[in-house]
Structures are given as C-alpha cells and as structure tokens.
Symmetry: C3
C-alpha cells in the first residue's frame, strides 16, 4: 500500500480535529501501529492500553482521543478527535478511492441489458453483466463484472455489487447495500413434501428483501421465502460463506460472522451478534441483543440479552464452568472409584 496524503487533505476529512505540533510534516505515506510506525506514517491510539507507546512513536501524525494529555515531538503532529479509530477510517476512505478507483460511469458495451430495465443516473455496470427485464437500478449503483440481476429485482441508490453476484428475480436491495463477490440472493428454499416416498420440491414464490446499509460477505447465500419474504434488517452486517434459509428475518444492526448457518423461518430481533460457524435450527426466535458464541448450536428460542455458548447451548458462564469441570472428569472418576472402594 503506497499513498500520498497531505495534512491539509486529512484536515478536510476531519474538520473538527484539534491539531497540535509541526504543521509541515510533509506528505503522509502510510498507516502503521504506534510501535511500528516510521516517519511519514499515520498512527492512532485506538485502545487505551497502548497509551504508553504514543510518546515514543516515530509516526509523523498521531490520531488521539480528545482527552489525551501530552505533546508531540519535533516534526510530529497530534490530531485529537472524538474517535481515533473511526477518524482513521475516514482517512482510509480517501486512500481507498485512490487505490481502488471506481471504474468510469456507464454501462459496459459487453453487458446484456434486457428490454424494460430501468436505470437511474450515474450507474456503473461492468463487463458481462446480465440484467433482466423489469429490473430497477437506483442512482450511483456500482455493479462489477459477471453480475446477474434477475427480472423485476430492485437495487437501491448507492448500492454496490461485486463480481459474480447473483441477485435473482424479484429480490430487493435497499440503499447503500454491499454484496461481495459471489453472493447469491434469492436461491430456492430447501423445502420438500414427502409424496409416495419421493421428496417433491415446494415452490418458493417469495423473495428476499435486504434493507439499507446491509453488507453481505463473499459467497454467502440467502434463500427466497416460500410466500412472502426473507428479510435482512437495516445496517446488519453478514460475513462470508453464511447460509440464510427461506423465510428468515434478521433484525437491524445484527452482526453475523462467517460460516454461520440459519435455518428456515428463524427470526432475529435487532442487535443480535453471532460468532462464526454457529448454527440455528428452524423456526426459532432470537431476542434483541442476544450474543451467540462461535460454533454454538441453537435449538430453542433465545431470550433478549442472553449470551449462549456450546451445543446444546448454555448461558456463557455456565458453559465455561462446565468446560472446566469436564477437564476434571478423569480425576473425579478416579476419586470416586477410590471412595467407592473405601465406603
């Protein structure tokens, strides 16, 4: 990563920052941890436990929380901001636009736009895309190469579809939705009737609705619902290779880590956090703000605010306690055998 940002460019992004020190630090050319930064780098104090590293960092610009006490060295700047980590994020977005410049606006000549597609202003569609009739694409949407958008699908303004995304017929994305490469939205639900010893597919006539500011990780799959909709709530972030079954409803601002599996008709309230590889049996409710540890297996409703771990899932502290005791089982069995003998 090689960048060149001036202090002025940075102050433009963080106008409320309070600057201290040498305003002529020159151009900033990297981002690094406090203890690894060199002259020319930006560093930041995101976690108070690294406070002691600030005085000795060689970084030219240090982002600090507003209540930080101390003075920059010669040839160094301090910039005090509300949230140093987020402030760095804002700087990084400027760098991101330079490292990964968006392709020029317009529809690539190789793409296949069927009749009746509605495309707003400032849309970018890369090579080899297939947009079926009736699809609606909002303003400033960016669609990379090899993307399929099915008939009557809707994509809200500012959304971004990476390479090879498949957004199937009648599914809907809100604004500023991000679908990473290889995501499938609207695959058929896994539901069958048993008829004379065969599994007969149940048609899935519904769709998937993804609300504003949702992000979905690479190769994640979300099935369409049987009749109504599978819905992902506003601001929820889903990692790579996650499975979301038909008729699932995920609340707002949830975080779902990689390889989680959510069976059909599960419902999450808002602010649920799920660790990687956890699994949910069908038709469950998970209460607001619940936390589910990685690899947990959830087979019952989860109360709001609960923190569960294991399979079968238990309250976190109990699960930890039992894990400790399990390690003592060999000793317990031995002592019991001794006791049994002597009693």
């Amino acid at each position: 990563m090689s960048i060149e940002l001036t202090l002025d460019e940075i102050l433009k992004v963080l106008p409320e920052g309070k600057l201290d020190g040498d305003k002529h630090v020159g151009s900033l050319s990297g981002v690094a941890a406090l203890d690894k930064a060199q002259s020319g780098d930006i560093a930041f104090l995101g976690n108070p436990k690294y406070k002691g590293q600030v005085a000795s960092t060689a970084a030219s610009l240090v982002l600090l929380p507003s209540d930080f006490v101390g003075l920059p060295r010669d040839g160094q700047c301090y910039l005090r901001v509300e949230e140093p980590s987020y402030a760095l994020g804002l700087i990084c977005r400027v760098i991101e636009e330079r490292l990964f410049p968006p392709p020029s606006i317009g529809i690539h000549s190789s793409s296949c736009m069927e009749n009746g597609v509605i495309v707003a202003d400032s849309v970018t569609i890369g090579p080899f895309c297939h947009i079926e009739g009736g699809a609606e694409i909002g303003a400033d949407v960016r669609i990379a190469s090899h993307v399929h958008v099915g008939a009557f699908a809707k994509i809200g303004a500012g959304s971004r579809l990476f390479n090879g995304v498949k957004l199937l017929s009648r599914c809907e994305l809100g604004e500023r939705v991000i679908l990473n490469a290889g995501v499938v939205v609207g695959s058929e639900g896994f539901g069958f009737d048993q008829v004379s010893g065969r599994h007969e597919k149940i048609p899935h006539l519904g769709n998937v609705v993804i609300e504003d500011d949702v992000e979905i990780g690479a190769n994640t799959c979300i099935d369409r619902s049987r009749f109504a909709e599978t819905r992902i709530g506003e601001g929820t972030k889903i990692d790579n290779l996650v499975q979301i079954g038909h008729n699932v409803r995920i609340g707002k601002r949830c975080l779902v880590v990689a390889q989680v599996g959510i069976s059909g008709s599960v419902s999450f309230d808002d602010d649920v956090i799920v660790g990687g590889q956890a699994g949910f049996a069908g038709h469950l409710n998970v209460g607001k703000g619940a936390k589910i540890a990685a690899q947990a297996g959830i087979t019952k409703n989860v109360e709001a605010g609960a923190f569960l771990k294991g399979n079968p899932a238990l309250p976190y502290a109990l699960a930890q306690r039992i894990a400790v005791l399990q390690r003592k089982l060999p000793d317990l069995f031995k002592r019991f055998a001794d006791l049994d003998e002597t009693s």
Copy 2:
C-alpha cells in the same frame, strides 16, 4: 407476490379434489396461513394441530385432507385432497411459472458454444454461457447466464442450471437435476502425496455423476473422484454451501442440509438425513435411513437406522441424557466434595 388464479385453473391442477361450497369465490390472489388469510386467499390444513383454525379462517379456498369433517362458510370453498400441502405445491407451480416465466427457448447470441456440442430440442441457454466441445445437453434443459459446461459433460433432459454454475469436464447430470446458482461440480479432489517434504497433488481423473431428480443448493461444491466417480443418488436433495469430497457416494433420496461437510470416499446408503453443519471423516459408511443431527461429527461407520448426535457422535437419546447431566456437573462436583470431606 401477486397472483390471479381462477377456481377452474386450480381444479385443473387438482382434478381429483372434492369441491364443496360456493363455486363463485372469484379469483384467488394469494396464499396464506389459516389464521392470517383474508378473502381472496388460498389456505391449507397441512398439520392436524391447526384444525381448530379452519372454521374461522377468512380464506376463500381451503385445501383440506379428505377425511376432514366440516362445512365451508358462505362465499368460501373447501377442496378435499389426498395431501393438502402437496396439493398447494401443485398450485404453486402454476403461480411460479407466472411469477418467474422461463426465458424464451434458444441459445443467447452472446454465449460461446464450442465445436462439437450436442444440443437437443427446446433447450434454453442464457447470456455469457461457455459450453465446451463434446458436451451433450438434453431436451428442455434450461441454463441461466454465466454457466460453464466443460468438455464432454452431459446434462439430462429437463435439468436446470442456475446462474454461474460450473459443471466441469466429463461430469454427468441425470434428468430433471437442479443446480442452484454458483454450484461447482467436478472441482479437483483434495489429495496429496508427501514427497520430500512437499505436498504433491494427486491428479483426479474421474468425474461426478449426479442421478435423476437431484437438487443441489447454491454455492455447494462436489469434487471429482480420483479414478472412477463421485456419485449422488436419485432423488437426493442437497442444500446450500455443502462440501462433498472426492469419491463420495450418496444414496437415493437422502437429504443433506446446509454447510454439511462430507470427506473423501464416504458412502451413504439410501434415505440418509443429515442436519446442517454436520461433518463426516473420510472412508465411512452410513447405513440406510440413518439420521445425523445438526453439527454432529461422525468419525465411525453408522448403522442403518441409527440416529446420532454430537461430536463424538452418540445415539440421540444418550447424547440428550448426557447433555442434561453435564448441566448438573457443577452440583455433582460440589456434592462430591462435601461427601469426600465427611467420609
């Protein structure tokens, strides 16, 4: 979902149904649960426990089991059928054809058909497909956009390949096979020889054979075999993001839920059911009709009809019993400590 079906259209799909009540219910415009249905909706009694909801449902048409006792209200129809859920499925297929009409038959001009491809009648191939030489595509096959069909691959009549499917060289699909978006059939097996401290890839010269009426979920991967074939038996249904290793043989009518992992050379008899995220070590046999709970870890052969849970996997009832006792470990350790002291 918005549909318009007349009662006549429905009776045409269910000619053996026994109709009772007002034949002038008008067009049916939705499908809903008994307690949520409104006038104009179709509802059905799939599970006897909702029997009590039939009398009060506002649905215009109610699908009922043939032995249901009761009379429709004014302006309502009862249609008694063998299996209400499956009958609804048949109606839904009609709706499906309207909501998701198949594209017009033919090969899209953008697709790349190499020399020597054999294509039967009534085949649909969407944009940007790549069909290599020697591939054979049966009658009525529907291939969506961005699909790759490798050299000498075979696709049986009536099969459907969704967007972005990769069916690699020499792999074979039976009739009416469905591959959902992003499925990979025929990737290289994960096998290596250790040679002077390096891992040397073992070539995988076999293929994958998928029998009639198999359905495979989005982004699932099935590896080709080393010499012969990886085989998926007739009527088996596999969910999204499942991993099936080289040389695996899956029997007929199995159900494999999302994110299951099946290692190389595992063999399933017919009618096996596997819950989500379960895993199988290599070279195992799983007997006919065995059931494996979600997240189970199978490291030994499984007897026919067994029902296993956990890792290490145990008979379901024993695993449940142990789970209950584990929760009592803190108490047991405490009581033991007391007893030990007093004894």
Copy 3:
C-alpha cells in the same frame, strides 16, 4: 475414464523405475486397486498392509516399492520405484493431459482486456474473462472462463485459475498457484467501527498475497487485509469452502481441510494441519506443526507440535479420555446417588 498408455510411455515418465517381467503387456487402459484390477490395468502397492494382494492381482502393470520381494506372473510387469503412490501420480498426470487437454493458447476473443494489462508468453485466457488495467499475467498461466482479475493484480508463471474465480484488485499470486472454481481472493475484511449505534465499515486497503505452489479449493474466500497483506505461505493447500479472514498469515506447507474458518489476524506457523470445519477465534498464533482435529474450536494460542480436539479444544488424548468418561456419566450419577444415600 478410458486411457491408452504404452509401457514405453510409462517408462519415460519413470526413467529410474526397475522393470521386471513381460515387456509386451500391451497398452494399459485403466488404473485400479490391486484386488479389483483386471488385465490391462495399472495397480500399485501404496500401503504395506495390502502386500498380500500383489501375488494375486490381475493387473498388467504393478507399481511396487523398491524393496518388494517377488516375481510377476506371466503376461505381467512389476515396476519397482521409490514411492509407488507418487509414481502413479506422475503417470496420472500424463493421463490427465489427455482426458482434460488444455485449451489452445491465446486470449479468447470474447474476453475483455482493459488497457495496460501485461501478458507474458503462452498464456491462455478463456471466454468472458475480465482483466482490469495494470494486471500482470505470467508465462504459461491458464485462466478459464468467467474469471475476473482486478486492477494491478499479479499472477505468477504457471498458475491456473479455474472458472469463475475472482482475484480482486492488487492481490498477488506466486508461481504455479491453483485457484479452483468460484474462489474469491481479496474480498473486503469483516471489520466495523461502532459509531453512534451504527456499524461503520473499516476500509480494507491491503491485499492478499499467495505464495508459490499454493492450491485453493472451490468457493473458498480470502479477505484482503486492513493495511498490509493477508498471506498464504508456499506450498500450502486449502480445501473447498474455507473462510480466511483479513490479516491472516498462513505458513508454508499447511493443510487446511474444507469449511474451516480462520478469523482475522490469526497466524499459522509452517506445517500446520487443520481438519474440516474447525474454527479459529481472532488474533491467535498456531505453532509449527500443530494439528487441529476436525470441528475443533480454537480460542487460545496453540503451541508448536500440539494436537488439539474439541471446543473448548484440549490435547487430543485428554479429549478422547473425557469423551469416554462422558459416556459413563449416567452410570456415575446413578452410582453417586446410591452412595450418597448409603453414606
């Protein structure tokens, strides 16, 4: 699989092999296990426990370890080599080239090569590929259909990208790297700042670097790093549907089986082996040569050479011992109840 190889062709691949028996065995037309081979087949003794099958095999050519004692039957050849399994692999590569001949060298006319792509000699690029400006493609690279190569990505000589691979901007592949179908390299890391109750994406400005001789399985995802690089070490082999988070560093010659999940900033030393579906919490170190059993959940650093199992993960032998004792819990509880009563 149908092949026709002469003994001469085989000896050309294995020039150091010591041949015994009838040199006029005719053409070899298959590969099979010792006990299943028929006349015309090649068989091999890879595992000493099948030694007894050699004398009775009907194979026309048997690959044997150099210290094998015995004589071929009439019309049969023995070929003694250093490592029979690897020797078979070398023969199989010849067969592989015949069964799956590489497409002719050159760039398919349908592909979209942006300005400023640097392409070495003898490169093959299939239909519907999209190669962005600044990408560099080394000699003898083979790229199948529907592949996306992002801006300034680099692909080392002899690498192979299967169908539908997405290699995103600025990511780098060494020499002889294999990416199976649907692999995503360089997706955005899953990292967010909490800002006023929302999850704000942290830009990921780094890339993914994959060293020489790495192979990656179908639909596996590797996220780009926040600032520097996510790195996969030389000779490491990764199976299908694996998740590798941002900033992860995997050492050399590691083996990672299907559906493993590795959270952000995890670091593996060399020669680590991970069973399928295992998961790693973030920011861990895994020491050289450690082995992690399938489905294990790793939440702490792992020492070099350790062999862990379970979640929470324990040393393998202890985990096995505890698993045995757990099965005895019902009995222990019962005996304890009896004892408690009598004491």
